[in-house]
C-alpha cells in the first residue's frame, strides 16, 4: 500500500497500540513534535482527544464551531474572584484550528528574561530566530494582500489619531493569486505539520482520551486510554511527549502521579472587551482584525475579536437592557479586547473521579488596575476612530459617547462585574533549571527519564504576545535536542 492510500487519521479502535514515541495532543506543540521526530526516523503515534474536522466544513468563529472544535462547547471557567472564562480547542490541530491565526515571534527581551530568570540552558536567540524563520516559511506567515478589513482599519485609524504604536500582525494564511483579505486559507496544523508527520510515517488516531500514564519509578511505560468506541485501550511506548495544552498536560501528569511543581503556575493573558458602534457598516462576521495596538505593551495590548452577531450579542449581554438594542445594528458594530500580562497566580488541579481538572486563577491589584486602564484606553481609541457609541462589557457599564463619559467607566469598572476571559493559557509545566521549574531546559519532566512536555505548558510565563509562534519555536528546539541525544530504534 502506498503512503497516499493510508488515511491521514483514523479513530482509535485497537485495544493495544505499540509505538516508539507517543505524542499526546495534536495542537501547535504536538503536531510540530510529531513531524520533526517522524522525519528523523522515529516511529511516532499521535493521539488526539477530539475529532478531525475538515477546514471549511464549519464557519470560522461560529457557534457550530464552538460545539465541534472547542472543549465544553467553547467556555470553561477558572474559579476565582472574578472567575475567568477560557476557551480551548479540542480537535485535531488543537487551538490552531480555532484561534485568530495571528503570528508573533517571541520578542528578544522575552527570550533574554526567560533565559536569565528561569535559567534555561542553551537558549540561543539566533537559533530561536532561525527556527522562527523556518516556521514562517512552513506556515506561510504573511500579511493581508491589499486592504485589511474594516474592523482592522478601526484599530489602525484610532491608534494613528492618538499617535499610539500599532501594526498589522502577520498570519499563517495562504491567499490565492489576486486574493483579498477575505480569501485566505488558514495554515493550521491539519494543513501543515500533521500531514508532514503523516508523510514521514507517523500514525494519527483521533477521539482517544488518555486517562493516565502508567509510571514505575522514573519511567513511564504505557498510557491507559478510552477509545473512540468508549472501550478501554492501552498504548505502549518508549518515550512520551505530553502536548495536551496548559490545562490538560498538567492534569494528565497529576493523574499519573506526578505532582511536583506541576500545575502550580498557570499564566494567562486576562482580557476584557467592548463593542463599538460606527456610523458605517464595518462588521466582518467570519474573520478577526489583523491590527494590534502595542503602545502599552507588554503590559497592555489591544486587538479585535470575532464579531459575528452571536458574539456581538455576548459582548452586549452584561448590560442587555441598556445595550441590547445595538445588536439590531450588528453590521455597524464590532467587538474589541484589551489584554494584559498578569502577575496573578493560577493553578490546575486534577480531581479524582472528575473528568476535567479544577482551574483557579487570582488577579492581583495591579492586574485589576491594568484591566480598568486598558478598557478605558481602548474606549478612547474607539472614539478617536470615529465610534458613535461604545458599550464596555461589564455589568452596570456606562454608555460612552464622549471622552468625558470615560471617567464614569473608570470609576464604575470592577473586574468582579466583568466577564474576564482569556485564550492564551500557558506555563503550568515551566521549563528551566531554576528550582521553581517543573521540567528541565528541554522539556523533560523532572525525575522522569522518558516523559516530556512540548506545548504551551512549557513556556516559563505568559509571553505578552500571541503565543503560538513561541510554542512552536520551543517545540522545534526541544525536538531537535531530543533527536541529537536519542536514536530511533533500528
Amino acid at each position: 500500500m502506498s503512503e497516499q492510500d493510508i488515511p491521514i487519521h483514523s479513530p482509535a479502535i485497537e485495544s493495544l497500540y505499540d509505538t516508539e514515541i507517543l505524542v499526546i495532543g495534536s495542537g501547535a506543540g504536538g503536531a510540530t513534535t510529531a513531524a520533526l521526530l517522524a522525519e528523523a526516523g522515529f516511529d511516532v503515534l499521535v493521539v488526539e482527544e477530539g475529532a478531525w474536522v475538515e477546514q471549511g466544513s464549519v464557519v470560522p468563529f461560529s457557534l457550530e464551531q464552538m460545539n465541534q472544535q472547542y472543549r465544553s462547547a467553547g467556555v470553561t471557567v477558572a474559579l476565582g474572584l472574578p472567575s475567568i472564562a477560557y476557551t480551548e480547542g479540542r480537535c485535531a490541530g488543537g487551538g490552531t484550528e480555532v484561534n485568530s491565526g495571528l503570528y508573533r515571534r517571541p520578542p528578544a527581551e522575552l527570550l533574554e528574561r526567560w533565559r536569565t530568570q528561569y535559567h534555561i540552558r542553551d537558549l540561543d536567540p539566533d537559533e530561536m530566530y532561525a527556527i522562527a524563520h523556518e516556521l514562517e516559511t512552513a506556515l506561510n506567515v504573511t500579511t493581508v494582500p491589499g486592504q485589511v478589513s474594516a474592523p482592522s482599519m478601526v484599530l489602525h485609524r484610532g491608534a494613528e489619531a492618538l499617535s499610539w504604536e500599532n501594526s498589522e500582525s502577520p498570519r499563517w494564511m495562504k491567499y490565492p493569486p489576486g486574493g483579498n483579505a477575505a480569501s485566505g486559507q488558514r495554515q493550521s496544523m491539519t494543513r501543515t505539520y500533521l500531514p508532514r508527520a503523516h508523510r514521514a510515517g507517523a500514525r494519527i488516531i483521533t477521539q482517544c482520551r488518555v486517562r493516565k500514564l502508567v509510571i514505575n519509578g522514573t519511567s513511564a511505560s504505557q498510557a491507559d486510554v478510552v477509545l473512540a468506541n468508549g472501550m478501554p485501550g492501552r498504548i505502549r511506548f518508549r518515550h512520551v511527549f505530553v502536548c495536551g495544552g496548559a490545562i490538560h498536560t498538567p492534569a494528565l501528569l497529576q493523574r499519573s502521579g506526578l505532582h511536583e511543581r506541576i500545575g502550580d503556575t498557570l499564566a494567562v493573558h486576562p482580557t476584557v472587551k467592548l463593542a463599538a458602534r460606527f456610523p458605517e457598516a464595518i462588521n466582518v462576521p467570519d474573520d478577526v482584525p489583523v491590527h494590534q495596538v502595542k503602545e502599552f505593551a507588554p503590559e497592555i495590548s489591544f486587538g479585535g475579536s470575532a464579531s459575528n452577531p452571536g458574539l456581538v450579542a455576548m459582548a452586549l449581554a452584561d448590560n442587555w437592557t441598556e445595550f441590547g438594542h445595538a445588536v439590531n445594528e450588528w453590521q455597524r458594530v464590532s467587538v474589541y479586547y484589551a489584554a494584559i500580562t498578569s502577575q496573578g497566580k493560577g493553578r490546575v488541579k486534577a480531581i479524582p473521579g472528575m473528568r476535567d481538572p479544577l482551574v483557579t486563577y487570582h488577579l492581583t491589584g495591579r492586574d485589576k488596575q491594568l484591566l480598568r486602564s486598558g478598557l478605558s484606553r481602548l474606549t478612547l481609541l474607539m472614539l478617536a476612530a470615529g465610534a458613535n457609541e461604545v458599550y464596555p462589557s461589564y455589568r452596570g457599564a456606562p454608555l460612552v459617547r464622549t471622552p468625558g463619559d470615560i471617567s464614569n467607566l473608570q470609576h464604575s469598572f470592577a473586574t468582579t462585574k466583568a466577564t474576564v476571559m482569556t485564550v492564551h493559557l500557558c506555563s503550568t509545566v515551566p521549563i528551566g533549571e531554576h528550582p521553581r521549574c517543573a521540567a528541565n531546559s528541554f522539556g523533560q519532566v523532572r525525575g522522569m527519564k522518558n516523559v516530556w512536555v512540548n506545548d504551551a505548558s512549557m513556556l516559563p510565563d505568559a509571553p505578552g504576545v500571541n503565543p503560538q509562534g513561541s510554542v512552536q519555536a520551543f517545540a522545534v528546539r526541544n525536538a531537535r535536542r531530543f533527536i541529537e541525544t536519542n536514536s530511533p530504534r533500528g
Binding site: L162, S373, S376, A384, S407
Partner: protein, 359 residues
Amino acid sequence: MRAALSKRTLLVADYSLPSATVVTGAAGWLGRALVHHLSTDSGAYKRDGVLRALVLNEQEAQAVRDVSTNVETVIGSVTDPRSLERLLDGLPADTDVIHTAGVIHPGKVSDFFDVNTTGAANMASAVHRAGLRRMVHVSSNSPFGTNPSELDTFRAHEPYNPYLGYGKSKMQGELAVLAQVEQGLDAVIVRPPWFYGPLQPPRQTTFFRMVRSGKFPKFGAGNQRRSMVFVDNLVQGIVRAELTPNTSGRGYWIADARPYTVNEIIDTVGRALRDEGYDVKPGAMKLPVFAGRIAERADRLIQGTGRYQQQLHVMGEMTHSIACDIDAAREELGYDPQFELYDGMRRSIQWCRAEGLEL
C-alpha cells in the same frame, strides 16, 4: 524613544509675540513666576507690551508688584464674569491669556468647582467673546488619576480618570475650555504634574524639612514613579504652547525630562540639601502600602462630606505612580526642559535660604 523626526519642523513659523499678555491667578506661585519671566530684566522670556494680571485683592496686587514693576493689576475673580470683562477691556486682538487661576488645597470641596470648573468656563467664554488671539489653560495631572502600574507612563492622549474633587473639577475645567474651542476659541491646554522651585508656598518647605529629618513618607519599596516639573521648565512649556500655532484643542504634559522614583526623589533632595550645607538624616519614614490606601480611603470619605484635608490627600496619592511622557510637547511645541531634579532642587533651596525660610 519615539521617532526622531520632529513634527515641529512641519509646522509653520511660531506666532509672533503678542501686543498684550494677561495672567490670571497672578499672585499664585506659578502666576508670579510667569510675571517674573515675562516682564523683568532677569526673566527668561521678557517681552514688550502690556502685561495685565488678575488678582483677588489689594494685598495680592502688592505681591505681584513686588515681583515686577512692568505689570498692571486688575482686582477681580474668575468666579465673577463682570470682573473678567474689566480684565480684558480695551486689549488688542493679538492678546494672549494665560489662565493659571486655580485652587488645589481648598477649605471646602465646593471651592474646587467654583474656581477650577466655573472659573475656567467663565474665562474661556470671556476670551472668546473679546475675540483675543489665544488662551493657554493650565490644567493638571489630576484629571487623569494615577498610572495603573509602576511601569506605566501616561501618553499625550489619555482617558479621563479624575482623582477626587480636585481632579474632577480640573477635568470639567478642561471640558469647559474644549467646549469653547468647538465654538471657535483658540485654546491650548498645558498639564503640569507636581511642580517645585523658587516662590514655592510653605507646604513645599515642609517637604524639605521631612527629607532633612529622614521622615519623608515612603510607601512599600518606594519604586512609585513621579513626574515633577521645575517651575522654570514649566514657564518655558507654557510659553512654547502659547506661541505654537495649530495646537488649539490639544493638551500637553509639561514636566522634567523624565519621571523619578520616590527613592530617587528622596536621595536627590537629600544630596541637594547636603551640597547646600544642611545636615541631612539619611533614610525615610517607611510605611506599608496599606497605610497609604487607608489615607486614600479617608480622603475620599472626608471629601464626600464636602471637607478637605491636605495631608491625607497628599498621603493617599503617594502610594501610586504619576508618570507622564513629554514627547508630544518636545515634538510639537519644541519644549526642551533645561533643569533636572538636582539642579532644580538646589535652586529651590537657595531661594528658601534667601527668603529667610527655615528648612
